[in-house]
């Protein structure tokens, strides 16, 4: 007993107690460490999560601003529809999760109860549409087509329908005033994507789940202004969503209204005339292919010459923008994007590319003056021009003898420009180019704004292309592997071209410079680029950024932000040269290639200027181009596979001018009938309440200004095809050949690769995504 007097202190027990103590301390230490990790190291992140936990937003969407034409006529506005919505928060508080209320509601709306239930369930990975993918705190729309009677039933018996509201709500509408569709210019809306919400999260205009976003055209370009700002009320809520207090409330701000320079009447006429011209072209026989013209697509631009403002812009084929409202159906979508429909969503005025043909000739004219040639000349307009063993023919081998550059424009003489361009090519070193080659013909094209965007306030404008040395080198680099693989000396036509391109596709050859001088070869332009250039010739040389938007007017009408015309360059020509070109283009309209389309035009009162173009496209029918201007307007029209410039597009352009100036077919001017003899300078009037006045509009202006449905009946020439347009592409080395498609490949005496220049050839290459057309 004495050896263990204090039993609690035996060594084994003491050691074990120390072990317990150490264990306890380490457990507490672990807690402390973990606490430090959560609160100090990761604290910020958890603080963020906590704030997301207890604040909920209730969103009141902003009314989107209208898009108006120059006189205030709405091109895109909102219509009020009766929308019946259900508040999920209220429904979930009921014992049966609101089933009884929804079933009753389905009865009133004439819907199936299951359908209504499905609409209010929340979307997740396992829930297929229909379901609600917005915030559960947002009222969920059940239908946007309620009748006033249904709405009344719901509102008068509010106690029977807790959590259900029937309110008028604004939905987008494209009213097509006077049948002016304007589809591609206006664009369309579709629901915002998760990605966009993420991207815009920290900007000053974040998206909301329920937002619609402009996807193309003006809706996209001016989306920020049109959208306005949704009202957000932040509530502090507890776990069950019960509101503890209102944290912050921002009222909804409606979007601003956009006034455009579009005149819906002129727009309608432009659309109508373009469509009529294409229909007419399809009736015409194409000698070269032996079938009727296909006229698969076309575009027309009516621009104010002194400001660059777009009065009308039409693209064909077209579509109904209302198809997008309230979610596009799968069938509509397939129709709009399928190959068969030929891409109606494209705005061909800014996205359609083709070789310009002879309407390009104002550029080599200006370039020749720059290079030191005189305007007067004389230059020999021979029937053909030959380089080495190659012969480049004038259109139908016409021979006009020695003429000035002005006359060369009037009669659209190819050989004059062939010679000048070839001469310059030789001066720049020919096949052994100088280091500092002048490249006047290419430089001038760039100075005219080709090969780059005009800067129009519409999204996705394309640049086109000037096929200069740099481009040739780049293009060769990108394609030489394919060419060299496919090419075969002495093989088929395509193989031979590939072979030659492989060998020397990086060089600017004599034939390239000759083709280029008449707007053929690899040159690509858009209608808006050409309209800008011709407007610049009209206004004394200023290249304006084309604009569709004219002013942004705040919803209360108090702030008007005008979109001023902006220039992006000046034509690189002296006043004198510009005047000479101007006179020559007037000559085109009075005695040149377009004269037959302007018979009886009051030239003394409204001086008309024009240039025709017929561009050749490899493997396709010719592209019709018609570029015109008066003192105030420039109009450019193009029809793909439509025939000649004045032949296919001429009557339509004349009809548009007739409507603008009120000119009748016999040349009388009726100012009362004139739609827009001078460009609309003033903005529509804004009333004190912020609404914008607009005039009454006729049902369809196109009918009013088109006395005869068949304009070709009045044509001065009996043929449908146009004999007065001498634009003829490229080279015709073998005169006995009449079929353009077959003769293009052959050359007189000589294997591939021989000789300084040869016809521009193109080997097959991977097809571009866009239906790009290139001249051959």
């Amino acid at each position: 007993m004495t050896n263990i007097p204090e039993t609690g202190r035996s060594t084994r027990v003491q050691v074990r107690l120390v072990v317990i103590q150490v264990l306890v301390i380490s457990l507490l230490g672990t807690l402390g460490g973990r606490l430090w990790y959560l609160q100090i190291r990761e604290g910020d992140q958890y603080a963020k999560e906590a704030s997301g936990n207890h604040v909920q937003q209730v969103v009141q969407p902003a009314v989107r601003g209208s898009i108006l034409d120059a006189r205030g006529v709405p091109l895109a506005d909102n219509e009020t529809r009766l929308v019946v919505s259900a508040s999920r928060t209220d429904l979930m508080k009921m014992e049966d999760d609101g089933k009884a209320v929804l079933t009753k509601l389905a009865g009133v709306l004439g819907m199936k109860p299951e359908d209504v239930m499905m609409k209010v369930r929340l979307c997740n990975a396992e829930t297929p549409q229909p379901c609600w993918n917005g915030s559960p705190y947002q009222p969920i729309p059940i239908t946007d087509e309620a009748t006033p009677k249904q709405a009344l039933q719901i509102r008068e018996r509010a106690e029977d329908f807790p959590g259900i509201t029937a309110e008028p709500q604004a939905l987008r509408r494209y009213p097509s005033p006077g049948k002016a569709n304007t589809a591609q210019v206006l664009g369309y809306l579709s629901p915002v994507t998760d990605e966009e919400i993420q991207q815009a999260q920290d900007t000053d205009s974040p998206y909301l789940r329920s937002d619609m976003v402009g996807r193309s055209g003006l809706e996209r370009q001016y989306d920020k202004q049109l959208r306005g700002k949704a009202g957000v009320t932040r509530y502090e809520v507890d776990k069950l969503g019960r509101v503890l207090g209102q944290a912050k409330a921002d009222p909804a701000e409606p979007g601003a209204n956009l006034v455009t320079s579009i005149d819906s009447r002129v727009q309608r006429i432009a659309e109508y005339e373009l469509n009529e011209a294409m229909k007419e072209a399809r009736k015409q026989h194409d000698r070269n292919t032996g079938r009727n013209y296909e006229a698969d697509s076309g575009a027309v631009v009516v621009m104010e010459a002194k400001t660059g403002r777009v009065v009308a812009m039409a693209s064909n084929p077209t579509y109904d923008p209302n198809a997008w409202v309230g979610g596009i159906s799968a069938k509509d979508y397939a129709q709009l994007t399928g190959t068969k429909s030929n891409y109606p969503l494209l705005n061909r005025a800014i996205q359609g590319l083709s070789a310009p043909g002879s309407i390009f000739k104002v550029i080599p004219t200006a370039a020749a003056i720059k290079a030191g040639y005189s305007f007067e000349g004389p230059y020999n307009c021979s029937s053909a021009y030959s380089i080495g063993g190659q012969v480049f023919k004038n259109f139908e081998s016409q021979n006009h003898g020695p003429i000035s550059l002005g006359r060369a424009l009037e009669v659209s003489c190819d050989t004059v420009f062939y010679a000048l361009s070839h001469e310059e090519w030789k001066r720049d070193g020919g096949n052994k180019p100088k280091k500092n080659a002048n490249d006047w013909f290419y430089k001038t094209a760039h100075q005219f704004g080709l090969g780059e965007e005009t800067g129009i306030d519409l999204p996705n404008e394309v640049t086109g292309r000037v096929p200069d040395r740099q481009w040739k080198a780049d293009y060769w680099k990108a394609n030489k592997d394919a060419w060299c693989k496919y090419g075969k000396k002495g093989g088929s036509y395509a193989e031979q071209i590939a072979y030659e391109n492989c060998l020397e596709g990086n060089r600017l050859r004599a034939g390239d410079s000759v083709n280029y001088s008449i707007g053929q070869g690899d040159t690509l332009v858009t209608p808006i680029q050409m309209a800008t250039i011709y407007a610049a010739i009209s206004n004394g040389g200023t290249l304006y950024d084309p604009t569709v938007g004219k002013a942004v007017i705040s919803p209360d009408g108090k702030t008007v932000r005008e979109i001023e015309p902006k220039a992006h360059g000046k034509l690189p020509t002296s006043k004198k040269t510009l005047k000479q070109i101007d006179e020559a283009l007037e000559g085109v309209a009075t005695r040149g290639t377009a004269a037959w389309r302007f018979g009886g035009w009051p030239q003394d009162k409204i001086p008309m200027h024009a240039k025709t173009g017929t561009a050749e496209v490899y493997g396709k029918q010719t592209t019709s181009w018609f570029a015109t201007y008066t003192e105030d307007y420039s109009i450019v029209m193009t029809i793909s596979q439509g025939g000649t410039g004045s032949g296919a597009s001429g009557p339509a352009v004349r009809n548009i001018y007739n409507a603008l100036y009120g000119v009748s077919e016999d040349g009388e001017i009726d100012n009362k009938k004139a739609l827009l003899p001078k460009p609309q300078k003033t903005l529509p009037k804004v009333r004190t309440d912020g609404t914008i006045t607009s005039p009454k509009i006729a049902k369809d202006f196109a009918k009013e200004f088109r006395p005869s449905p068949s304009p070709d009946g009045e044509a001065t020439t009996p043929q449908g095809d146009d004999p007065a347009d001498p634009q003829q592409a490229g080279t015709t080395p073998s005169p006995e050949n009449t079929n353009r498609d077959t003769r293009r490949g052959r050359r007189r005496g000589g294997g591939p690769g021989r000789g300084g220049g040869h016809p521009r050839r193109r080997a097959p290459r991977p097809r571009a995504a866009r239906p790009e057309r290139t001249a051959s």
Partner: protein, 400 residues
């Protein structure tokens, strides 16, 4: 060894002194009391009452419209607890020794009562007895004490008598049998958290008793095997399995089982260094954390008082545990040592499990945080344990 049955009589041998003087004399009550434990316990209870108030003042569905309902009751519980502590000191742990069989029997009877229709279920655990007046009793809290006292009595009897240096196998087996009976009953409730605490208590008691190492390792092995068997046989309820699954992967089901853990961690994590201020926590005000006045009370401290407040609670519990370890080591009889060590094991595990689950390092079980969590039974049991610790400390010679 001091002679008296309890401390009040111990002071009787000196000259006659006034009551207060006696209390503060060198060998008086005040000197013999372990003040750090007492003050830390009172501080924790007070702090707990504020946290409980913060968590419940807006929960009208719980507090019956009176925001102070839980605050007042927490104070009341603390008062009763302190009274129980004084009672325990007065009786003394040795004085209770004779009553242990009675207490043990009574506590086992109470938990058996829970299994009858008199018992009621809260949060999946059928471990309460409803009493009139809105009170309810959780007898498993008292079983923790009676297991400690019962085992200590058995294990220390022959050692303290000087017969043996360590308890023999037969005694250990008897002690284990005494612990296993109530554990099995509690498991039937099922109150897995309490069973886990009891297992740890048994381990601590055996360690402190000086029982052979074979028993310790054997028990650890048996515990592991038992856990695997329980898991394999599917004895656990689904909600218990889910709690473990959610612990392993909190992202598993953030709206369901993982919700508690996630919200608790968000609440604590958002507190930062100093917290959002008492009564200012948005997680707490928004009632995002369930059971916040009881099992998850630590999240209120984490959010509203930050790292400072959380560390204070851990620190105060650390003081109690540290002092309790000292008491266990300093006492002269094995009985006292075992009781103190059992209490250390109980408090330490319950603290670690409770705070650990809110911090996401332990699975969620329904265990209260000593002193801080709202709940009468727990509060009473904890203060009773403090009384036992005080008694053990006071009954050793001052010179030791």
């Amino acid at each position: 060894m001091t002679g008296g049955v309890n401390s009040f009589q111990v002071s009787g041998y000196g000259p006659e002194r006034a009551g207060w003087t006696r209390v503060f004399a060198r060998d008086g009550l005040a000197r013999r009391l372990d003040w750090p434990i007492l003050l830390a316990g009172l501080a924790l209870s007070l702090l707990g009452s504020l946290l409980v108030y913060s968590a419940t003042r807006n929960r009208t569905e719980l507090n019956q419209g009176d925001p102070y309902y839980f605050l007042v009751r927490h104070w009341l519980n603390t008062g009763i607890g302190v009274a129980l502590m004084i009672g325990a000191i007065w009786l003394g742990h040795r004085g209770l020794r004779t009553a242990v069989p009675l207490l043990y029997g009574a506590s086992v009877f109470l938990i058996l009562l829970v299994l009858t229709p008199l018992g009621s279920t809260i949060n999946g655990a059928h471990s309460w007895i409803k009493l009139p007046g809105g009170f309810s009793l959780q007898p498993s809290e008292f079983v923790k004490i009676t297991i400690i006292l019962g085992m200590a009595m058995l294990l220390a009897a022959r050692v303290d008598a000087g017969d043996k240096p360590y308890p023999d196998h037969r005694t250990v087996l008897q002690a284990l049998g005494l612990a296993v009976v109530p554990m099995l009953i509690v498991m039937l409730m099922p109150d897995l958290g309490s069973v886990m605490v009891m297992v740890i208590i048994v381990l601590g008691v055996l360690l402190a008793s000086g029982a052979s190492n074979r028993w310790i390792f054997g028990l650890l092995g048996a515990g592991a095997a038992g856990a695997i068997t329980v898991w394999q046989l599917g004895i656990l309820d689904e909600y218990q399995i889910n709690r473990f699954a959610a612990f392993a992967n909190p992202e598993l089901d953030p709206a369901g089982v993982g919700y508690n853990t996630n919200q608790a961690r968000i609440a604590i994590g958002s507190g930062g260094l100093t917290g959002s201020g008492l009564f200012q926590g948005s997680q707490t005000t928004g009632q995002f954390v369930p059971e916040q006045q009881t099992d998850f009370v630590f999240t209120v401290a984490g959010e509203e008082l930050g790292f400072v407040g959380g560390a204070l609670i851990i620190g105060l519990l650390g003081i109690i545990l540290w002092r309790a370890c000292r008491i266990a080591r300093d006492t002269t009889d094995l009985y006292g040592t075992i009781v103190a060590a059992g209490i250390v094991a109980w408090f330490a595990f319950q603290t670690f499990e409770n705070i650990g689950m809110t911090l996401g390092i332990m699975p969620v079980t329904g265990l209260p945080l000593p002193f801080v969590s709202y709940g009468g039974s727990s509060m009473f049991a904890v203060w009773l344990a403090i009384g036992l610790l005080q008694s053990i400390r006071m009954q050793r010679p001052m010179s030791a």
